[in-house]
Symmetry: C2
Subunit: 118 residues, 2 copies
DNA sequence: TCCATATTTCAATAATCCTTGAATCATTGA
DNA sequence: TCAATGATTCAAGGATTATTGAAATATGGA
């Protein structure tokens, strides 16, 4: 993830509806969610959700694929990981005080890490 | 860091000049930089830098303190770490695929981690 | 083909954000 | 006190982003 993409991604996450969408798609995993289902859960109009989904896709944080009549959106884990990495490494120069709390979280989430850190 | 603050912080980082400011302040450490010095390095006008510094301070990512005639800005490591944590934990539900790359970065930056992971 | 469903696009408006330059405020030293 | 320095505030304008509802597009089934 380069700076240009990171700027767009930060902008994408700076809007409540869009942050909500990303959270839902991360949880829903590889199956993703249809645009309509997202709109319903987020309680926004179809045209509005479409606007925000487009913005998120432009940022690379989510991807779409048509499935029959529905358009299924999924979280792009690689891009999200890339953004975390950008924030820690590029933006914060890998500063220990900033990265340490992140390391804790990472340890809790990645089984291998957890093992080694015990 | 709660969602409200995270939204503001993401917005703060979504602007090129402000991202540049944060990077400079992280590098400059606890000594920080005076507003004028920041403006000069970022090549923007005093009033414009003031606008962006205010926005960053509102986000909590930087702090200010007067020192004689100058106003010194410093990066808020705690807030930056909190944002990384929010992105990994709250926003991305601690998803391993997203957190793994972050763990690598963290390992490189925090001496204790590095030791344990070798 | 025709209709229903799922979604996007478009145009208009509202809201927010960014930039600029002039004016103002705070601090220090002569 | 006065002038100089360092920085902020303010108002105006331009640019971008968000919301809305109506119209258009794509797909699948009767």
């Amino acid at each position: 993830m380069d700076q240009r993409q990171a700027l767009i991604a930060f902008g994408a996450l700076s809007q409540e509806t869009r942050l909500h969408i990303v959270r839902m798609l991360v949880v829903s995993g590889p199956d993703g969610m249809a645009a309509g289902a997202i709109a319903e859960k987020a309680e926004v109009s179809p045209s509005n959700i479409s606007f925000h989904l487009k913005e998120l896709e432009r940022s690379g944080l989510i991807a779409q694929q048509r499935e029959s009549r529905s358009i299924i959106y999924t979280a792009n884990y690689e891009a999200l990981g890339g953004l975390v990495r950008f924030l820690m490494e590029d933006c914060c120069s890998g500063h220990p005080e900033i990265c340490a709390p992140a390391a804790e979280v990472a340890a809790c989430c990645t089984p291998k890490m957890k093992e080694k850190l015990q």
